[in-house]
Structure formats: C-alpha cells, structure tokens
C-alpha cells in the first residue's frame, strides 16, 4: 500500500512560511491526507535533496539565486508543480521591493539604516546573490496549478488534494477564491 502513496515535496522560496502554516491548518484532516500521501523534501522533513515526486508545492517568489536553483530542482523532479500563495503567483508583498533598485535596497539596509554598527553589504561566497527583482515562479519554470491567497485557506488545499486523489482536474470552488 505504502508505495502507492503520492509523494509530496514542499518548499518555501521567498516566502514567509504562512502557506505552510495554512497547509497545517487542515488540522486533523491532515491525518486522512497522510494515508494517501507521504513527504519527500520539505521544511517538515529532514530530507535534504528532492527525489522523484508526484506533487511539488512551492511557496514564495524567486528573490535570489538559490531560490531559482531549488525551483528548477523541484520542476525537474515533480510531475505536478503547484504555485501556492500570492508570492509564488505574482511575487506578492516581497515584490514591492521591485519599486527600488537592488543596490538601493542593500544600501538602505546594510549601510544607511538606523543602528548599524559595521556598515557593510554582506559578500560571503556562501550567501546566495539577490536577483535584480523578485519574480513569480511561473516566470522561471512551468507551473501546473495555482492556489491563490495570502495564504490560501486550509479548505483550498483540501479541495486541491481531494480532486487530485480522485484523479480529477483540481478546480477551486468560487467561494475559496481570494487573493488576500
């Protein structure tokens, strides 16, 4: 039975983890879901690299080089890739930084901001470089489904998985559709 379970991977790119919390808001209904699905790489597991998966849930837009790398790995390994939440779908609130140049943002935070002790823009090679802008995930890889909301409600997740598990095309009921 176990090997017929759906393999599920999740990640947060330029996200706030709110979509993951909303996923957990399915509460005890998660138990029923986990009879049909098991987790691969996810902030909720210890698995470091993604394996072959049926579904990948992406929270957050793409704001740095590592986000882009992870997103591409998810696309390469997931049969169905889902953009979850406003950030993944259109950049979300973090995309408000697109009003400014990257240099302006970094200087404001690390050089000119208040209470800064050692003004310096972090440049360690370990750190992923920020992209010029925050991008919606759909502008980097192909996305199969979108779950709008900031965050989507637990019911939205539930509708989505129920449809998938029944082999139907997920369609969100109008009542669950919201962008805020």
């Amino acid at each position: 039975m176990n090997n017929s379970k759906l393999k599920l991977a999740t990640t947060s790119l330029a996200g706030c983890f709110g979509c993951h919390m909303s996923f957990l808001d399915m509460d005890e209904r998660l138990e029923a879901l986990l009879e049909h699905a098991s987790f691969d790489r996810s902030p909720l597991t210890d698995i470091k690299t993604i394996g072959n998966c049926d579904i990948g849930l992406i929270e957050g837009g793409v704001c740095n080089a590592e986000n882009a790398e992870v997103l591409r790995q998810f696309r390469a390994n997931c049969r169905i890739l889902v953009a979850v939440g406003a950030c993944a779908i259109n950049g979300g609130v973090p995309a408000m930084r697109n009003q400014y140049s990257l240099q302006e943002c970094l200087e404001e935070v690390y050089l000119h901001g208040t209470g800064i002790v050692n003004p310096r823009i972090p440049d360690d090679i370990e750190l992923p470089l920020l992209l010029d802008k925050v991008y919606p995930v759909g502008e980097i890889v192909k996305i199969d489904y979108y779950l709008p909301g900031c965050p989507p409600s637990a019911d939205t997740f539930l509708h989505f998985f129920e449809a998938l598990l029944q082999g139907k095309t997920p369609e969100l009921p109008r009542e669950t559709l919201h962008y805020d």
Partner: protein, 248 residues
C-alpha cells in the same frame, strides 16, 4: 412596458430599450448583468476596459458604447467571452502592481471582484512591475498610480459631476497614466475634495481617502457580502466610500 417598445435579444432574454439607449444601459435596466469596470450609471460611457465586450453575430462590440437596435441578437454569457474577459482582467493585473494582500481596497475592489467572478487563479502573463509616482501631497486623499486601471471614471466624474476637471489621462501606449490638472501636477494644488464623486468613484485602490483603510472587518467587506454581478452595486460602493470619508 408599452407594447410598441422595441427590444433586442441578450443571451435568449428579451431586453426592452428606448432609442438612444446603449446595450449596457438597457441590460442593466432589465436587471441583466454584463461584466463592466469602466461603466458607471449616469456617467457617459467611454469604452476603456473592454470587459463588457459582447458578440453580435461574429462582431465583438463594447456593450457600454454600442446603441441597442431593434431585434439584434447579442451574446454575452458564452465561454469564449468569459475567456476573453479573464485574459483582459489578467492584463490589468500584470500591467500594474496589484498586490492585494497589501492593498487597503482588498475586499472592496471591483477589479479583484471581477477576477473572482471570472475564476482567475493566476495572472498568466509576465508582470510589468511598473514604477509610477505615488501622490500623497493632498491632506485627505492619495493616489497610487500603480493600481490605476485607466478606466477614466475619475476623469469623467470630475468633468460631469462638478466641472472641476481635476484628472486627465496623458501619455501614449504603455506610458499612459493618470495626471492631475494643477500647476504642480500634485493633488494638493487641485480642487479635489474627499466628498467629490471623482474622489469616491475609483473602482480600485488607486484613489484613496487617507487614514480610513482597514476599517471593515474581513467578512463584512463589500465583496465578502455581494457578488459583482448584482445590479445596482455601484450605489453600495459609493455609499461605502462615503462612509469611509465620514467615519474618520
């Protein structure tokens, strides 16, 4: 209805009209919804948003600017037009910065409600991420041009309701944007007052009254309680915007 009244057919319904009436006005008078964003009862139509596109034969026309004619057959609620309207709405979303989670119009916004109505789940097209000027110079009103959909309702309301001519749309193509007719180009030097129709008619979060945001609890906002296809909703929206002004 007088028996000699003329009529046309809209999605298999007979819609009576008087000569000189547009398809939109006749449909609304007959309590039949045709999607629209830049039409407002009592304000002259301008055909900007194209959400009201309907089909007469193979021809697509804007219902708000096309006069009703006897016995024409008009199609509106068909899949082809729903798809086109959804694409138009997506274009409006990507052309501006519609980050609803951080917008105080959310739940009270006609563009957003239209997107819900059309079942829009994503923006489909790449985002423009424009960088247009915010005008917060006026003590009571502010203007976020990145959310303006160029419906020109504020322009027309300011001409027709009080003759103040506060707004205009300037620039060509993608550079078109809302401008303020004042010496400095700022709202502060204009005659605009919060009670003006032009300050309250904006269907989106572009013209906003200051310091009244986020006063309505989630669940009680206009489009939590109403669907955009309700006829006469414009009055509810105006009433809401008036209360927002008064409550401060």
């Amino acid at each position: 209805m007088p028996t000699d009244q003329q009529s046309f057919t809209l999605d298999n319904c007979k819609i009576p009209f008087s000569p000189g009436q547009t398809i939109m006005d006749a449909a609304l008078a007959a309590k039949t919804y045709i999607p629209h964003l830049c039409h407002f009862p009592g304000i002259s139509p301008q055909g900007n948003c194209k959400l009201c596109t309907v089909k007469i034969g193979t021809r697509q026309v804007a219902a708000c600017t096309t006069l009703a004619e006897p016995d024409i057959v008009v199609e509106s609620e068909i899949q082809e037009l729903t798809d086109a309207r959804r694409a138009l709405t997506q274009m409006l979303f990507i052309e501006g910065n519609h980050i609803c989670p951080s917008c105080e119009k959310t739940g009270n916004c006609s563009l957003q409600a239209m997107a819900y109505h059309l079942g829009m789940e994503d923006n489909h097209f790449p985002q423009f991420f424009p960088q247009r000027e915010v005008d917060a110079s006026h003590p009571q009103i502010w203007l976020d041009r990145d959310r303006c959909i160029l419906c020109s309702l504020c322009v027309r309301a300011s001409q027709e309701a009080d003759g103040k001519h506060v707004f205009a749309i300037a620039g060509r193509g993608l550079d078109a944007q809302l401008i303020v007719n004042s010496s400095s180009g700022k709202l502060a030097e204009s005659d605009l007052a919060p009670e003006d129709l032009a300050a309250r008619i904006c269907p989106v979060g572009a013209i906003l009254i200051k310091e009244v945001g986020y006063q309505t609890p989630i669940g009680q906002r206009i489009f939590d309680q109403h669907k955009i296809d309700e006829i006469g909703l414009e009055q509810v929206i105006l009433a809401h915007n008036t209360t927002a002004t008064r409550d401060e």
